[in-house]
């Protein structure tokens, strides 16, 4: 069983971090960022136009997270 209070951060290969659980997101100016859905994807490539969220742009820029065995 997963602890309900525990936030999980799942790293997606060549993609964002998926955050599940009761996390709060605070912007650079200290204001809270509205969390629109239960599971959110945080940009990891830096190219998203809707940061902190992922918008799929990593697929255009060839972003890789590496560290995987070659297939």
């Amino acid at each position: 069983m997963r602890d309900d209070d525990l936030v999980t951060v799942t790293a997606c290969p060549d993609g964002p971090l998926i955050i599940r659980g009761p996390a709060s997101f605070i912007a650079e100016d200290g204001t809270p960022i509205d969390q629109p859905r239960r599971s959110v994807a945080l940009c990891r490539c830096g190219a998203s136009a809707i940061k902190p969220w992922c918008d799929g742009t990593h697929k255009r820029t060839g972003f890789t997270t590496g560290g995987r065995e070659p297939r």
Binding site: P13, I18, R38, S39, V40, A41, G56, R71
Partner: protein, 349 residues
């Protein structure tokens, strides 16, 4: 209530004539046996099931019975054996054509990560002209509204076709599908349901937001796109295809929806219209990750026999999406409407 539909050939005419009545009780004379013959004739006469107006409208109506999406279709017909037999006949031909058009090249191992990587590669964005770029840069206001009409056949019932898979899955792939669908359905808030957000888009563009209002206006290929999802969803033997289809759909959503939103903003539509597209940029960037690994990848690993159909469903969805996009794009580039010539003037409000 939106108007009933206009038949597009002998089979849909027979079907409409039947469905405008209530289903007779089982012990009464049925007068439905001619449907199967009409379906066989229509199939023998067509060279292309996917583009055949009569066949695709007939399938659309038969699936409409199952969804309850068209209120004038009486529920008493839902499991009528002659209607089910007719549907099975049409589906066999439709599925065969899709299978020959959608071959999965270089299939991966039945492994979660390998399947996800294959799906992401198969859905990778391509450079060059496409529908989303056209809407972003060049579409007129009329074309933008036409685009909403074309999309409304699916989107006013968004997510429903893939939900048929929920009771047929178990374990982690079921949990993944629920995680995606829960968000599609607004996460407990009916106002946030994607179909409801799209209804606001329709109203904001001064279009009818009732389901089925534009069935008469859309070409066979638009109905085929919806029918493909319904065929996958309503047949348990095609469970893998449903899952693959959803994964491909989610993986080809965020980037185009950004462009659609840009196009509607360029044309001066308000937030009530563009919110739908912006929601999908964000939501589907989450969904595609879950759909690739936790849904499709996990299902392939847990049930390797489904791998082939997972890939088929993904490629079939991509092909269909390509055909629909080409149809709209070519029509607009030639200065024509993508809607059927019978379209009512009211669309150009």
């Amino acid at each position: 209530m939106p108007a009933r539909v206009r038949p597009r050939g002998p089979l849909s005419a027979s079907l409409c004539a039947l469905l405008h009545r209530r289903c007779p009780p089982p012990e009464a004379p049925q007068r439905t046996g001619h449907l199967l013959d009409a379906a066989k004739k229509a199939l023998a006469a067509t060279g292309n099931v996917v583009e055949d107006d009569d066949l695709q409208l007939s399938l659309f109506l038969l699936y409409g019975l199952m969804y309850g999406s068209l209120p004038w279709l009486d529920a008493s017909w839902e499991w009528h054996p002659d209607l089910i037999a007719t549907r099975a006949l049409l589906e066999r031909a439709f599925e065969a054509q899709m299978r020959s058009a959608a071959t999965a090249e270089d299939p991966p191992r039945a492994d979660r990560e390998a399947v996800a990587a294959w799906l992401f590669a198969a859905t990778a964005p391509t450079p060059g002209p496409d529908l989303a770029r056209f809407v972003a840069r060049s579409a007129s206001r009329d074309q933008a509204r036409e685009f909403l009409i074309q999309r409304s056949i699916y989107t006013l019932r968004e997510a429903d076709p893939h939900s048929w898979a929920i009771p047929r899955l178990t374990g982690r792939s079921k949990a993944a599908l629920i995680e995606i669908q829960s968000d599609e359905y607004g996460g407990g808030d009916s106002e946030r349901m994607h179909a409801a957000i799209f209804a606001r888009t329709m109203r904001g563009a001064e279009l009818d937001d009732r389901y089925g209002a534009y069935v008469d206006d859309v070409p066979a290929i638009t109905l085929a796109s919806q029918n493909l999802m319904s065929m996958f969803g309503l047949n348990r033997r095609l469970l893998g295809a449903t899952v693959g289809h959803l994964a491909a759909l989610e993986m080809t959503s965020s980037l185009p929806n950004r462009l659609y939103g840009d196009g509607f903003r360029r044309l001066g539509f308000g937030v009530d219209v563009t919110a739908y597209f912006d929601e999908h940029v964000e939501a589907d960037a989450v969904h595609e990750q879950i759909a690739g690994r936790d849904l499709a990848g996990a299902l392939a690993q847990d049930e390797p026999a489904l791998l082939e159909d997972i890939l088929f469903g993904a490629v079939a969805g991509l092909r269909m999406d390509g055909w629909v996009g080409d149809r709209l794009l070519h029509a607009w580039q030639e200065g024509r409407t993508s809607l059927r010539p019978t379209s009512r003037e009211t669309i150009r409000a």
